[in-house]
């Protein structure tokens, strides 16, 4: 397992971490297997989404805020219940296949850290298991 840190850019924001994950997977030296990407936080998530058109990211984040409003009458005292709920809904762990030592993502897919309570520094763990 290896880790890297990433600084997120806003309260709610996406950060494309495909290159960092790819580099961590390459360092593991596994030709074929699975690469797990895991965020150790309860107010962020890790997703795979289109990384070409910025409108896709904007639509996604705006709609997530409609589904889980920031001011949703929540009990949790820190004011970030929205972030906790979105973290659970999108998930903190995902796996990408590795083939010939590289992530086998689709052409339009990128690995993104989804920030819901930023900006702040986040830690991402990358684990690789061989086939």
């Amino acid at each position: 397992m290896s880790e890297f840190k990433i600084r997120t850019s806003g309260r709610i924001a996406l950060a494309d971490i495909t290159a960092e994950v790819e580099a961590a997977a390459a360092r593991a030296g596994v030709r074929a297997g699975l690469c797990n990407v895991f965020v150790r936080h309860t107010t962020a998530a890790v997703i795979i989404a289109e990384n070409a058109d910025p409108d896709v990211s904007a639509d996604l984040l705006a709609h997530l805020e409609r589904l889980v409003p920031r001011d949703g009458g929540f009990r949790h005292g820190e004011g970030n219940a929205q972030a906790h709920i979105l973290s659970v809904m999108l998930g903190v762990s995902l796996n990408v296949p590795i083939e010939e030592g590289r992530l086998r993502l689709g052409r339009w897919q990128g690995v993104m850290l989804a920030e819901f309570d930023g900006p702040r520094e986040r830690t991402v763990a990358v684990s690789v298991v061989p086939a």
Copy 2:
């Protein structure tokens, strides 16, 4: 890793791919481990759901369209922002345990490709890692 293709039946539809995934896992020859199912697309997802009562699928798809309406005032120009958002919410990657060379699904569980921008041909990648 191996791949198979599946033709989806509608704009929004589920395709039961349990048999195809089971066959791909069996070809890998692993007695115990994990089977990862991954779709290389940003407008589809892979889920585990009940595959017995078709009403369950109908309820699921209808409710997802209520949560993320097709005409949600989105910016993305291709008209399929709904599909991108549902792909992120449901996810493109999932793992099923393998025991005695077979998927260890529950009695009512099936692996489904969830199509949100079809009908079209989709590619599914199956990777198996040993315990």
Copy 3:
């Protein structure tokens, strides 16, 4: 792979299963790798969420019931369509990195079984694959 059973406490409820998953992972004797947690049910899910403040769990469950109401005009005859939909949205399978023989969760993260059609006894499968 190993299994354990857990009795859930209500129709919709969270059960912290971190200790049980940790114990199952330790029994596997793997120093570094991935631990998969899988529920064999179509009306429950497995999530990672904050396990410190009970208000976070209460906010999460209350909001999930707003997003997917129990009485949503569903067709499925058993009255638990809500549970099926939430199971798909949150997912029945997740992976946690293992390092030095232990789950590498963040400080505030716990592994939870999310019950949507209880109370009842649920089976959780834990599989460990080495790095």
